[in-house]
């Protein structure tokens, strides 16, 4: 025992030291807990929205015209090409304005996307919305109706059945969703291929009379587009000889521009983006899958590794029922089999 220190004093000193350590530990714990609470408060609203939008279960509703049509193509069995980690996503874009009930919208845009992580390749194939196909649950019609009759599950099952592909995930986005997404990431840079002029463009966004028209003029050349003008560019089809096919090409351009811009988004942007999108986007991907893919998407840098395709004649010819396009199935299936196992 050191000289000059009595046993009682030592115990008090020890208690005091313990009290300081305990107070410091308590303070650190409190700071940590509060920081977590602050983070939770920051991310919780977006997490809730993301939770609602992701992990959608694919369900199919029965078709309203269940009589099977005998022209259904025989689905080819997918060619087993082993591409580790590769997956196929079906992108669906809908007019979800007030002209339609929320459950029965058409898909104005349908794009099959194959992502091959090992080679950092992306293959995009736009399916014409007017293609006349057998629906999964029976009956036939333009492929844009598959979602209307069976929601995402109906669209996925119809594409899988008719094109002989396996779809791993789907992403659905509404008109407003695309506008809000592009605005939330601060706009996109696009080289618009030509002046897109439309004297009868539907005035159905932010307008109480969805059957009115407005004039649209998106001029040609490189430019920074906000959500509204990007939407006008990808949606207008009246002044394009290729109509839906022409706008499919434009949709792919904007899609790639969004991917380019999304590379600059940080995790702290997620709440504002999620808040902007609220309810306008749905996907079968789970949150963890989305979290995996966001940084992964940033690694796809080579524009030459991105293959964009639209279906042109002779893959189809006009004159189908109700102005639809009649598919040339052998040609379509040969193309699809080449890129989408």
């Amino acid at each position: 025992m050191p000289l000059g220190i009595k046993p009682g004093r030592r115990a008090r000193a020890s208690r005091r030291r313990l009290s300081i350590v305990r107070t410091a530990a308590l303070a650190i714990f409190a700071i940590g807990l509060s920081a977590m609470a602050g983070s939770l408060a920051y991310y919780l609203p977006s997490a809730k929205l993301a939770w609602d939008a992701t992990g959608q279960v694919i369900t199919s509703a029965p078709s309203p015209s269940p009589s099977p049509i005998s022209t259904a193509p025989s689905s080819p069995s997918p060619v087993p090409i082993y591409q580790p980690g590769a997956f196929t996503v079906l992108l669906l874009g809908s007019d979800d304005d007030s002209k339609f009930s929320a459950d029965h919208v058409l898909t104005q845009s349908m794009i099959l996307v194959r992502v091959i992580p090992t080679t950092k390749q992306v293959i995009m194939l736009s399916i014409p919305r007017d293609l006349y196909v057998p629906f999964w649950a029976g009956g036939s019609g333009k492929i844009d109706g598959a979602y209307s009759y069976g929601q995402a599950g109906g669209a996925v099952a119809t594409v899988e059945q008719d094109f002989g592909v396996h779809i791993d995930e789907y992403i659905w986005i509404g008109l407003l969703g695309l506008i809000k997404l592009i605005d939330a990431i601060g706009g996109v840079d696009v080289v618009t291929s030509n002046p897109v002029i439309d004297d009868y463009y539907p005035q159905d966004i932010y307008d109480p009379y969805p059957y009115d028209f407005q004039r649209v003029a998106v001029l040609a050349g490189p430019q920074h587009l906000d959500g509204i003008h990007a939407m006008q560019y990808v949606r207008s089809r009246h002044n394009d000889l290729q109509s839906d096919i022409g706008r499919s090409k434009r949709q792919q351009q904007v899609l790639l521009a969004i991917r380019q811009k999304a590379k600059q988004v940080s995790s702290t942007d997620v709440p504002s983006i999620a808040a902007a999108l609220g309810g306008e986007i749905k996907t079968s991907m789970g949150l963890s899958r989305v979290a995996q893919l966001i940084p992964f998407a940033a690694t796809f840098d080579n524009p030459d590794a991105i293959t964009s395709m639209v279906m042109l004649p002779p893959l189809w010819h006009g004159g189908g029922p109700g102005g639809s396009l009649t598919p040339n199935w052998p040609e379509i299936l040969a193309l699809v089999r080449q890129y989408f196992p």
Binding site: A27, S34, D183, N194, D199, Q214, A217
Partner: protein, 380 residues
Amino acid sequence: MISRFLLGIGLVALMLVASFGTYTYLGGRHSKVAVVAQKPTAATPRPSAFTLSGTLYLSQNGAIYSLSFGRFHQLTIEDGWTQPSLYPDGRYLLAVHRTYNYSDVYILTRFGQKIQLVVNNAGSANNSDTGSKHWSFYPRLAPDGATMFMSYDEPKFGYDVPFSIWAMPVNGTISQGRIWTNSIDYTGGDMQPVPLPNGGIIYTKYSYGPDGNLVGQIWHTTRATPTGREGEPLTDATDDCSQPSLSPAGNAIAMICTYERQDTRLEIAYWSGSSMGPRRPLIINQLVAQPTWAPDGSGIAYLAPGVPGGPFQLWFLPKNAYNPPPPSPTPVLTPTPGGPYHGTVPSPTQAPSVVATLVKPIQVTMGDDFDATSPLAWAP
């Protein structure tokens, strides 16, 4: 020893600071992708900032700005003003005033005051048919100062709304206008005319290329040919070139070419007045728009994003980048006066190797969002 009460108060305060601090910190850690562009006038030029010669006119968010001596001045309010171009004598500006469903052309002073409405496309207020209205874009005056060329959506056929190049007296009315080009249906038509000193125009014609894609081509025509053959293309369809700009001397054309990609190249070519020489790429790794020659020949200004995917900023490519000064003359050995020398000749020192200086484009602005569909006007 601290009392339990004070300890509790301290901890609560600490927790409040920590939670609010974390929330605020995360909120402040946003990336800059969605930052709203500033007005060009908001930026304070640094003393060492690069200054362009003359006065440049640009458009942002529906307002026209001038840039002179390194400072921006807002000339119009933010109300659809775009595509300024100068009178040949530089006294006035032509500009487009774009509204929701149509666009008009005005003459403005160089300070932005309206002088005269040249083209009124509002149509009748009683006609609710959206197809009854018109767009006028890219107004440019011919060197005579009296004839205005522009892209105008007449004639149009229901859903097919192609622009044609029109010429009209700048002090007249559209009824005195004359259609110059025969645009291709369902393409968007003919855009961005550039009047030439010899009376013709070069412009961009949109068409369906060999692969079925819509592409731009630079065309040249010397006369009004609303029907039939109207001159000749100066570029190939697959090169997808557009936005021509004539050099002040009239002997070179700058343009952008995309080769049908989401990418552009700034290219220049010799121009004889009727034919174009081989094109030379100057910039290949930027999304270049609206190249414009400096009136004093010191370089080419253009718009391009400051960061990939970002809004368009003003850039300048100095002349030395595409027209380097001639190398210094090779020294010629001159005989030493005083007759032949019989001593030891010193070995010559190695001449320094000539290294070509890479002249890079200069980013003039940051944080702006210039309208990349609006050509720049540049006064001496």
